[in-house]
Symmetry: none
């Protein structure tokens, strides 16, 4: 193995992705040399006996959890730079990767230029993201930050009954309440979620995983 070259590893269960990455790296073959793995475990055992400068880690492997794998990699070889690689556009997933020691995150729609830039940045000790990942990280995400409208026990109950298509009157009967009270709760829910009607309210509740 040529000691002067930078060693990149690719861990992904999709041969197509592996080939794609390698192909995108072909122009820089003088600088980088690459190895690839379709199983997390295979990479781990390779890593314990070989040096790897940077690894592209697919976070959704069939045989292992990306987050755990990332932690393991950093434990075995803290010098190895990990870049998350996935189609998952969930901000929370990206954050979890970073928390587990990753130096960046690439979405699989990364362009060839971006890819090379990201590798450079990462190797220089910088945090790096592909364009779209940057955008996602940029928005603090309504679901994540802005404090899930806190719903009281009663309100949650009413939400559930609304989701079953029940009317104010039906809900009142079911909960032994005055219809007027149910109405008040509904009004409060609409205000809390800043929505105009029940339809929008339920969708908001779904997005906040309350239903």
């Amino acid at each position: 193995m040529q000691q002067d070259k930078i060693i990149l590893a690719i861990v992904d269960d999709h041969p197509m992705v592996i080939e794609g990455l390698k192909s995108l790296l072909k122009s820089e073959t003088a600088i980088y040399t690459s190895v690839s793995f379709t199983k997390g475990r295979e990479f781990i055992s390779f890593l314990s006996q070989n040096e790897v400068n940077l690894v592209f880690l697919d976070i959704s492997l069939p045989d292992a959890n990306g987050i755990e794998l990332c932690k393991e990699i950093k434990k075995i070889s803290p010098k190895t730079i990990v870049l998350g690689l996935s189609n998952q556009t969930e901000r929370s997933m990206m954050l979890q990767m970073l928390q587990s020691g990753a130096s960046g995150y690439l979405l699989k729609n990364v362009s060839p230029d971006e890819l090379l830039t990201c590798i450079q940045e990462a190797l220089h000790g910088l945090i790096t993201f592909s364009r779209e990942a940057k955008e996602i990280m940029g928005r603090p995400s309504k679901a994540g930050l802005n404090e899930v409208a806190s719903v009281t026990k009663r309100e949650k109950q009413i939400l559930q009954l609304l989701a079953q298509g029940k009317t104010t009157a039906a809900i009142a009967t079911e909960l032994f309440l005055s219809p007027l009270t149910v109405d008040t709760h509904r009004k409060n829910l609409l205000q809390k979620f800043e929505v105009k009607n029940t339809a929008e309210l339920l969708m908001a509740a779904v997005h906040q995983k309350l239903l």
Copy 2:
């Protein structure tokens, strides 16, 4: 262009996937020649002026709906064989593709061998799937069986606007329709889903992954 070669097109917004596929096809470069597109529209305009034997179509493109694109392709050039290509493991999605004229479906974790086999099968007029896609198609799936209320294009559109809390009047304005027409669509939706009101309707739609 060499008339004797089989022309394969790749439509995918991920350059990495395009490169990966091309790379996997490299061994058969004597038989196949390939062109690639990152936008659905680009491929459509190419197709209207060139012959294409087979196209790998990513069903989740940012600029177009895979199902619609597939239909359009078969309309312009019925001889062109369409193979769905995606990470989506939803049986219903695969069925929709087949219904729209596709001859098969490959998941992106397809192995090099499978890929070549699938291309051969497809070119010989057979329906074909990658290994995992086959497995998914094999299980009739609980969600799939219990009759997913088939929703028309217009109805889906209206569902989406309802989910945004829009009223009949607002929807009518937005879609340049009579409010009475929107009302009819809403009534049909309520019937199809066998629900009492919009709240229940939206929840049903969510559970069927229409929203």
